[in-house]
């Protein structure tokens, strides 16, 4: 029995068994210095066009400056806390650039750079981390879910949004960002399974930065890679050098377009590293060596992309200065706008718990108002 809804859905194609497992080594187009790397043996991925890479470069420079500014704001008490994603720029920007405006992004607390790249106002994007009770932006208008803190719990939401679109015959894709630690949570697995069973156009991007706060990847999994986790669910897995912007863009673009075309969900594991501690409140000397951080600094995604684009004659000194100036201006604006004390109207406590406040909430709002009037 087929129904109307099924007729509207684009035809589903299942991944071949051989395609379920990721490539033996992470896909990379650039070596650690931005020189050419072997690329992709299967020839599945296309080297991104220079114009896209130039955009990625500017967005990554801006993202890093924004990130540094946000960390600085914690020291001045303007942000309650900030989890830096310095070093993960290729993943954050690549994820956004692989999507269309009508696609959905499901970010975590660490993905503030991605919000900025999505065009969300910087002050809005920092609302939650300023200590407010709401996410700051309109998820419906920006097609960007609120940043999620309970690990992996947003993954099934991405499946629902994508499956809803597919049922209506729309070609919307949802991309969900998850950390390596988050892959141990049940919701990650349930989301992969549901996405596969309902053939939902979802791309799961795991930013494997090696740690979940202090706990290394070896304590999260004994699997050969996180990308292998797709196979058991019938989800195609792939792994990529997460500090190689070319490879990240190539792999994510392929994954997003494959999902859009009815190829089902894709799981991408990006190998990356967070250069800063977990948040400004973390002491990373307790669990990792300084040398390790230095090693990863030498695989810097911005430096690699810059070297590559320069070698191709696609980036001039003027372009680099322009990107840096734009980033400085952006940071100055963020500084200025987060300078004021955040305000909180006590009435807001009650305003959005339900579509219309219950009698009990109306009563309590009145009591609070009386208390404040004294």
């Amino acid at each position: 029995m087929t129904t109307q809804a099924e007729h509207r859905m684009p035809p589903a194609t299942l991944p071949a068994d051989a395609d379920l497992l990721p490539s033996a080594e992470p896909i990379r187009f650039l070596d650690d210095d931005g020189g050419p790397a072997p690329g992709d043996a299967h020839g599945r991925y296309e080297r991104p066009a220079p114009e896209l890479l130039r955009r990625a470069y500017a967005a990554m420079v801006l993202g890093r400056r924004f990130d540094a500014q946000a960390t600085a704001l914690t020291k001045q008490g303007r942000l309650a806390v900030y989890p830096s994603s310095r070093g993960q720029e290729a993943c954050q920007i690549g994820a956004v650039l692989a999507l269309r405006e009508a696609d959905w992004l499901f970010p975590t607390y660490r993905d503030t750079m991605a919000l900025a790249a999505r065009g969300i106002d910087a002050a809005d994007a920092l609302t939650l981390l300023r200590g407010s009770w709401h996410c700051g932006y309109d998820p419906m208008a920006t097609r960007t879910a609120p940043q999620c803190t309970p690990l992996a719990t947003h993954a099934p939401h991405a499946v629902g949004v994508a499956y809803a679109a597919r049922r209506r015959g729309e070609d919307t894709v949802a991309l969900v960002l998850i950390g390596d630690g988050g892959t141990s949570e049940g919701d990650f697995h349930e989301a992969l399974n549901f996405a596969a069973v309902f053939h939902a156009p979802v791309v799961f991007l795991v930013q494997n930065n090696g740690y979940a706060i202090s706990v290394p990847l070896s304590r999260q999994t004994a699997a050969p890679s996180l990308a292998h986790k797709g196979a058991g669910y019938g989800v195609r897995g792939e792994r990529v050098d997460g500090n190689d912007p070319l490879a990240v863009l190539a792999v994510l673009t392929e994954a997003v377009e494959s999902a859009r075309a009815g190829g089902g969900p894709v799981l991408v594991e990006a190998h990356t590293y967070r250069i800063e501690p977990h948040t400004n409140a973390d002491d990373d000397a307790r669990y990792r060596d300084h040398d390790e951080v230095e090693t990863w600094k030498r695989r810097d995604p911005i430096a690699r992309l810059e070297a590559y684009l320069r070698s191709q004659g696609e980036l001039t000194d003027d372009d680099v200065s322009a990107a840096r100036e734009a980033a400085e201006a952006y940071a100055a604006d963020v500084r200025a706008r987060l300078g004021e004390e955040p305000s909180g109207d006590p009435a807001d406590l009650f305003a959005h718990v339900y579509a219309a406040p219950t009698p009990q909430l109306r009563e309590q709002a009145g009591w609070l108002a009386e208390e404040l009037a004294r």
Partner: protein, 336 residues
């Protein structure tokens, strides 16, 4: 026509799905089987894949419903049994309940989580929990529990139409309770308690599976010349403070009857609210008849656990009719 609560719920789902094709029904065994309690019987046949089975994973079911509610659908999901909704609790508490607030109203989640709950059906372990307090304690959720056939239909229609997420608690032992009703029927809206039986001497406040027990107790008390009023809450959130207080102010005495364990339960909340609002009208402390504070017992012990008519009547007897203090709560010196 004569209809059971189970069939009335089925009719509500069918009518909602006929009227609005964004209404979807999904969960475990809700498709071809029609649900283990047959509440979704025939929906897959009529609506095809608008009523569908999912993988067996409750967090995934509720989490996917969140995403679908964000993107244009009105999902109704079935948790197979009370205790099997616990895997979904994180989704419910952290997302379903909070999404509107954390997006300042930008994201609505018009979804219904149906939970067959409570005991009295001889269920084995993990099949008889009264889990309503977990949900009622979580701001952002509406919690509804019908006790009549007309309410089963009307409250479920209202839940599906509501812009807020609703945890819809269906007392299992009432699925087969029948009444005369003509559908479609519209009863009082959410937040309205109903006086099911008028009385003058004391008020029994009940909800869900305890409502028929309270009514039976009131009928028995009448034979002994005591007139008990029975208030059916219908919705725990929003709570109808005014109807409950109005009744207790009139009668001056109150017993809360609930099947769930009493400690930190909805019954405790009701008792607190009644004494806050009705202290000067009360002739006796507000008493409660609830399940004991034990894990829900196996079928052989169920009858000792469930609040029954006798326990309700005994409790009514302790409402200080002749100014005699309740012997159960005397301080030791008074007792000797």
């Amino acid at each position: 026509m004569t209809l059971s609560i189970g069939k009335a719920l089925n009719a509500a789902l069918r009518d909602a799905m006929r009227e609005d094709d964004t209404v979807l029904m999904f969960g475990e065994d809700v498709g071809a089987l029609g649900g283990v309690f047959r509440v979704t019987d025939g929906l897959a046949a009529e609506f095809g894949d608008r009523c569908f089975d999912t993988p067996l994973a409750e967090a995934g079911i509720v989490g996917m419903a969140v995403g679908m509610a964000m993107n244009g659908f009105r999902p109704v999901v079935e948790m197979q049994f009370d205790a099997f909704a616990y895997p979904a609790f994180e989704q419910i508490a952290s997302h379903v309940a909070k999404m509107r607030n954390r997006t300042r109203g930008a994201v609505n989640l018009p979804m219904v989580i149906r939970v067959p709950y409570a005991g009295g059906i001889g269920g084995v372990e993990h099949h008889s929990d009264s889990s309503e307090a977990y949900y009622a304690h979580t701001p952002g959720l509406k919690v509804v529990t019908p006790a009549t056939v007309a309410d089963a239909y009307s409250l479920l229609r209202e839940a599906i139409a509501d812009p807020d997420p609703v945890v819809f608690m269906e007392a299992k032992k009432l699925y087969w309770a029948k009444d005369e009703v003509s559908l479609p029927v519209t009863t009082a809206p959410f937040g309205t308690a109903e006086v099911r039986r008028e009385g003058t001497d004391a008020t029994l406040v009940a909800y869900g599976p305890a409502v028929p027990v309270a009514l039976e107790a009131a009928a028995a008390a009448a034979e002994d010349g005591r007139s008990l009023e029975v208030v059916d809450l219908r919705t725990l959130v929003p709570f109808d403070d005014s109807a409950v207080a109005e009744s207790v102010r009139k009668t001056g005495r109150c017993v809360v009857v609930a099947e769930a364990t009493g400690f930190a339960g909805v019954s405790a909340e009701i008792a607190a609210r009644v004494q806050e609002r009705c202290f000067h009208s009360l002739w006796a402390p507000v008493l409660r008849v609830t399940g004991w504070d034990v894990p829900y017992p196996p079928p052989v012990l169920e009858k000792y656990h469930l609040p029954g008519v006798d326990r309700v009547l005994d409790t009514v007897d302790r409402l200080q009719w002749d100014d005699v203090p309740d012997p159960r709560f005397l301080v030791p010196e008074q007792a000797t």
